[in-house]
């Protein structure tokens, strides 16, 4: 049942989206890129510590997918989740503050980079255990189905999660129970230093969908519109009660696995080739082709985003650290809170 890649989907999506909407896709991608670049800078200045995984290069996936959802839909992600969290609508201030370990952060500084969570925008968490988010997404889907609510769940995970038992357990039951879950595998070809062909027996990952009797597609993750089109279709299916889909978005992370990984296992040439397929430049080029006058607007967006990021850093830097009395507060739920 695996679908052939629909080469015209992106073009159709461009035609259905107006310039304002395309501008919004652009804005979100630039926001993530600038955010991540700033995080790298803050990390090297010691403002951010710990384990930190950046999303630069993969923006087309999170932004295209999440733009195809409603605000009330749910998103689950991994430890490389700053991008998904921002795309879902969390404020740059609160994400940056969390990375700084400040009390104004999303998780009040208790979780840090790998454990973002924002209930208000239905970003249901980054999971630092590889594969850990998938069963949870199934549970969210189960709850939506049980309550007969129209929401769908979009679950992001890496190519590295496929060899985990949790992948099989989750896709199997999501399909059998026709749960409203969209599984999006961000295939960036590497799980740390391990190439996908050394980790997964079927390296065309979307083919896994066949054995679970759900639709599977491979999309170009560097083309935000192609991702948008595929997720729109999967979301409609899920919302209509026709069950889950598996979308493999082929993409590339520009930086090492984490801030401490120099990525010596891949070639500079390979990195350059991917930089040329940059999702932001891609969309910019497309918008300019359609309307050369769009440039001024895009430059305004660039400027506005820079201000948002600078403001986020200032906010994070000036925010206080959590007090020691915070510690026991969130271990158990209690009525007194």
């Amino acid at each position: 049942m695996a679908l052939e890649r629909d080469k015209h989907a992106a073009e159709r999506a461009r035609l259905t989206l107006g310039e304002g909407e395309l501008g919004e896709l652009y804005r979100r991608m630039v926001l993530i890129r600038r955010f991540e670049d700033k995080v790298a800078e803050m990390y090297s200045r010691g403002k951010i510590t710990g384990f930190c995984h950046l999303y630069a290069g993969e923006e087309g996936v999170a932004v295209g997918a999440i733009y195809a959802l409603y605000d009330k839909d749910y998103v689950v992600s991994t430890y490389r989740e700053h991008g998904h969290c921002l795309a879902k609508g969390a404020s740059a201030r609160s994400v940056m503050a969390e990375l700084f370990g400040k009390v104004t952060g999303l998780s009040r500084g208790h979780g840090g980079s790998m454990h973002l969570f924002d209930q208000t925008v239905r970003f249901m968490g980054g999971y630092a255990i590889v594969g850990g988010g998938l069963p949870l997404a199934v549970g969210l889907g189960l709850s939506c189905q049980y309550k007969e609510e129209p929401e769908v769940v979009c679950c992001f995970f890496g190519d590295g999660a496929l060899p985990q038992g949790a992948f099989h357990e989750s896709l199997n039951i999501a399909s059998l129970w026709k749960l409203p879950v969209i599984f999006i595998c961000e295939n960036n070809f590497y799980g740390m230093g391990t190439m996908v062909q050394n980790a997964v027996s079927q390296e065309e990952l979307y083919h896994f969908a066949e054995s679970y009797k759900m639709p599977g597609v491979r999309v170009d993750g560097q083309d935000v519109l192609e991702v948008y089109a595929a997720v729109t279709e999967a979301a409609t299916r899920a919302r209509e009660g026709d069950g889950p889909s598996l979308i493999e978005a082929v993409t590339y992370r520009y930086r090492g696995h984490s801030m401490s990984d120099p990525a010596e296992y891949r070639s500079k040439r390979e990195e350059r080739i991917w930089q040329e397929r940059d999702p932001i430049k891609n969309l910019r080029r497309r918008m300019m082709q359609a309307n050369p006058g769009a440039e001024a607007r895009l430059e305004t967006i660039d400027r506005e985003v820079s201000e948002v990021i600078d403001d986020a850093v200032r906010f994070a830097d000036e925010s206080p650290e959590p007090g020691l009395e915070e510690l026991g507060k969130y271990v158990y739920s209690s009525e007194q809170e």
Binding site: T49, G50, F51, G101, K102, V103, S107, G109, H110, G111, G112, S113, M114, H115, A128, I129, V130, G131, G160, A161, L162, P163, Q164, G165, G191, M192, G193, T194, N198, A199, V200, Y265, E321, P322, L324, E326, L327, G328, V331
Partner: protein, 326 residues
């Protein structure tokens, strides 16, 4: 030759693989990358990919396949990239490996080593900072070790490889590059079981292991300098089975016991150590048994919160003063 804690582990792996063809290493990125912390660096070049096996992210598989190979006489040394991920393989460890020999009436054994880099203090937050040893120290059939020095790291790993039982080997991430020691040339082992007296004293005993050994020794030196207190420091080294004789001997000698570990207070090994002393050395005690451990909290990301949660030299010094004055 001088070696860091990390280098000592690496040397033990090299030497054991050279000594016995049945020894092989398996885990995530242990080959070409040399492991997330570079502990297995150089093994692939020395022994080839048949014996240094990169797996995908499949903890259940790593341990389970290790068990299968061990049953047929191989000696796998398996790596959990972070000790925190050991919970993904929990079933294979406690249900399959630990019970294997018993279940089969002694027909087969399970000689594997499971290395688990553990410990906090690296701002790793909730899933990259845990000390999961106490989940395993109540499971018959397993052995659990937690070396604190390069010498022990090397010697205990060699013993673990040669042991015919499943051994979980907790190595503290913070020690990897922070401590060095002169190691003797040639083959040596440290037996699984015996604790080691790191410092002789008479006024009070600290019983500890792993990362907090060094903080305990520092604290002992500080109180000796300031007031002449002679603190004895016992390094457990092996957590299952515990060296009851050594625990009781130091308790009987000084009459005051402070237990220190980085794992959380409740349900930590300190509770078991205290119970052994209370049961068998009660008459010798001159004060309550005290514990300095991580607070019963999750390891927060926020650096000041993390520091507040963890034991440190100051907290140990204070506990020594209080207990000494009791």
């Amino acid at each position: 030759m001088e070696a860091t804690y990390l280098k000592a582990i690496n040397q033990a792996l090299h030497e054991e693989m050279r000594r016995d063809d049945n020894v092989f290493v398996m885990g995530e990125d242990v080959g070409e990358l040399g492991g997330a912390f570079k502990v297995t660096e150089g093994l692939l070049e020395a022994f080839g990919e048949d014996r240094v096996i990169d797996t995908p992210i499949s903890e259940t598989l790593i341990v389970g396949a290790g068990i299968g190979a061990a049953v047929l006489g191989m000696r796998p040394v398996l790596e959990m990239q972070f000790g925190d991920f050991i919970s993904c393989a929990f079933d294979q460890i406690v249900n399959t490996a630990a019970t294997l020999r018993y279940r089969h009436g002694g027909q087969a054994s399970c000689p594997l080593v499971l290395r688990a880099p553990s410990g906090a203090g690296v701002h790793g937050a909730l899933f990259h900072s845990q000390n999961p040893e106490a989940w395993f120290t109540r499971v018959p059939g397993l052995k659990v070790v937690a070396p604190a020095t390069p010498y022990d790291a090397k010697g205990l790993l060699k013993s673990a490889v040669r042991d015919d039982n499943p051994v979980i080997y907790f190595e503290h991430k913070r020690l990897y590059r922070s401590i060095k020691e002169d190691l003797p040339e040639g083959d040596f082992t440290v037996p699984i079981g015996p604790a080691e007296l790191r410092l002789e004293g008479r006024d009070l005993s600290i019983i500890t292991y792993g990362g907090t050994l060094h903080q305990s020794l520092d604290a002992a030196r500080i109180v000796e300098k300031e007031g002449g207190l002679k603190v004895e420091v016992l390094d457990l080294r092996t957590l299952l089975p515990l060296d009851r004789e050594a625990i009781l001997a130091t308790a009987r000698k000084t009459g005051k016991v402070l237990i220190v570990h980085e794992d959380r207070l409740t349900g930590g090994i300190g509770g078991e150590v205290a119970a052994i002393i209370a049961e068998h050395a009660f008459d010798y005690l001159d004060g309550p048994i005290r514990r300095v451990c991580a607070l019963d909290a999750h390891t927060a990301f926020s650096p000041p919160l993390e520091e507040y949660i963890l034991p440190n030299t100051n907290k140990i010094v204070e506990a020594i003063r209080e207990l000494a004055a009791y």
